[in-house]
């Protein structure tokens, strides 16, 4: 009985997805309040590279929530690259993505020096916190790991953007995220590094009704639309923090 119902729903969903596939090019509505896309901190290296007409190479380091299954093209890092190309047509943007599934901030910090030697990026976007929250790592230890990691990245000559965990309402009763959000905010403030508040942004979308993040979607469509919006929001955030005014955007 129940599985029958599920089958029906799944069928209906498939049909509607097929129908919606036409409209897929039209980006989802996902406005973000300006305050969440502004940062007091800046990205001088990105700004300098853009001014000098050099390529900007971005390295995204993250856990599995920086990807969607095995489809790198629709995850937010690739969407960020696409959005930046749109907005800054004269700037070359190179992207590499380093997904380290199941690694805590401390684990990742250990790999950073080596990683940076190989890639020499202008900008590192470090998404972290999710694994630590799931394993309830001592928030103090988490904080010092992120702290150490940011210093390592800066010493290697890159600008850094920190990105916090996703807003995940279904697992709210199981994963306690707030201490990790707080600690990331503190580290960002301390090192004057922009923090992309993915958690607050997604929460906002859920409240505005842009996305129903509670729903039990089984397909990848919702994930793709969310990542597309994240990528675009992130591009606005990076352009703002690097003060790439209309001069670079034209």
């Amino acid at each position: 009985m129940r599985s029958g119902l599920f089958l029906c729903v799944a069928l209906l969903a498939t049909i509607s997805v097929a129908g919606a596939a036409r409209a897929e090019d039209a980006p989802a509505v996902c406005d973000v309040p300006a305050s969440l896309l502004e940062s007091q901190s800046s990205l001088p290296k990105v700004a300098a590279a853009a001014k000098a007409g050099q390529p900007i190479s971005i390295l995204v380091i993250g856990s599995r929530s920086s990807s969607i299954g095995t489809d790198p093209g629709s995850a937010y890092p690739a969407r960020l690259q696409a959005a930046l190309k749109d907005k800054l047509p004269q700037v070359t943007v190179n992207l590499s993505v380093e997904i380290q599934p199941g690694k805590t901030a401390e684990d990742v910090t250990g790999t950073l020096v080596k990683l940076m030697e190989g890639k020499k990026p202008t900008l590192v976007i470090w998404q972290t916190g999710t694994v630590d929250a799931m394993r309830s790592i001592d928030p103090d230890d988490f904080r010092s790991a992120v702290d150490e990691g940011v210093v390592a990245l800066q010493n290697a000559g890159a600008d850094v953007v920190l990105m916090n965990p996703q807003y995940s309402p279904r697992t709210e009763t199981m994963i306690s995220v707030p201490p990790y959000l707080d600690n990331m905010r503190a580290v960002a403030q301390q090192h004057d590094v922009p923090l992309f508040d993915r958690f607050a942004i997604m929460q906002q979308w859920n409240e505005q009704g842009d996305f129903d993040l509670f729903s039990a979607h089984h397909g990848p469509e919702l994930a793709k639309r969310v990542h597309d919006c994240l990528g675009r929001a992130l591009s606005t955030f990076v352009i703002g923090a690097a003060h790439l005014g209309p001069a670079q955007q034209n």
Partner: protein, 413 residues
Amino acid sequence: MTSVADRVAGPAVAADASAREKAAAPAVSLPAVGERELRLDLFRGLALWLIYIDHLPPSLLTWFTIRNYGFSDATEIFIFISGYTAAFVYGRAMLEQGFVVATARILRRAWQIYVAHVFLFTIFLAEISYVANHFENPLYSEEMGIMDFLKQPDVTIVQALLLRFRPVNMDVLPLYIVLMLALPLILALMRFKPDLTLALSALLYAVTLEFDLNFSSYPSGYWVFNPLAWQLLFVFGAWCALGGAQRMSRILSSRITLWVCLAYLVAAFYVTLTWYVPQMSHWLPKQLEQWMYPIDKTDLDVLRFAHFLALAAITVRILPRDWPGLKSRWLKPLLLCGSHSLEIFCLGVFLAFAGHFILAEGGGSVALHALVTVCGILIMWGVAWLISWYKHEADKSAPRKGARGNADLAGGG
């Protein structure tokens, strides 16, 4: 906005002189029998409501909870009042019935809390298992990994029984259990050397912070509320109940204390504002930020403790023990909930689970959210009323036992 929510039950300033004389032999003194300290019930009831609201997903109402206006939150109120009332009830038992009987009663109470915790865990397991089986969204494939513990129910359940595996929002009762287990020792010491006991507690707190001591939990990490640190608040509550508040009354009524407390609360409020309006952090000196952060809840940061003290000191000042409003029927729901704290606390945790679940199934609109919050509070009130009514009826039919009972002052049972 800080007004109502910020007031915390504090130690009784104007204590009962007659009681002081009656219990003159040991170093402790107790207020008169039967005189219920309504402020304790009031603020414990308030803490229970706030904990419930804080456990739901954030909404408009969350902005009314005190954690948004300073460092400390409802947990501090709850633990402090628990220490106060536990010492009040079992301290008397220790004087009248001796160490052994009092210890037995305390252990019985700890056992009740333990059973309540396990009961809540069972409900939690049911909810998780449902979500794990019905929810599969590629957006959250990483977060859903948290369900992996369901693959090893044998280990998980045993660890839960050992209080080492605890779901989110189920950390207060284990802390309470550990504190209750330590209570006989605390009371025995405090009976003769209250100030020394408080000093030892502060020493343990300092050592804990210095050497980073904590209880480990399963599968990794540490207790969210470190009992070795939070005991300070509990012992401080006990110390206040056993005469400390009277001895402090000079300090509490001084003007300087008032101004220091007010200044601290305003400063804390400002710092809290910078969390929501990052632009404001420009006026916050960098050195101060570096010294201050992180304001750690696990180890009951000194700043949090101080914030609670400031709140409490101001509250007892503006809200005297005989404030007529305490008898008003508008506060009755809070008083009722506060006087059956264990039951209502557990109910609150359960309702928060249920609320999460309803919001998840129902789409989480603002209206539904408000409805869940209000219904939850009404249910807490209703159940508290029911328990009261039952106790009243049961007491009527039972033979009078004198003033010995009064255990529900310690939060029911």
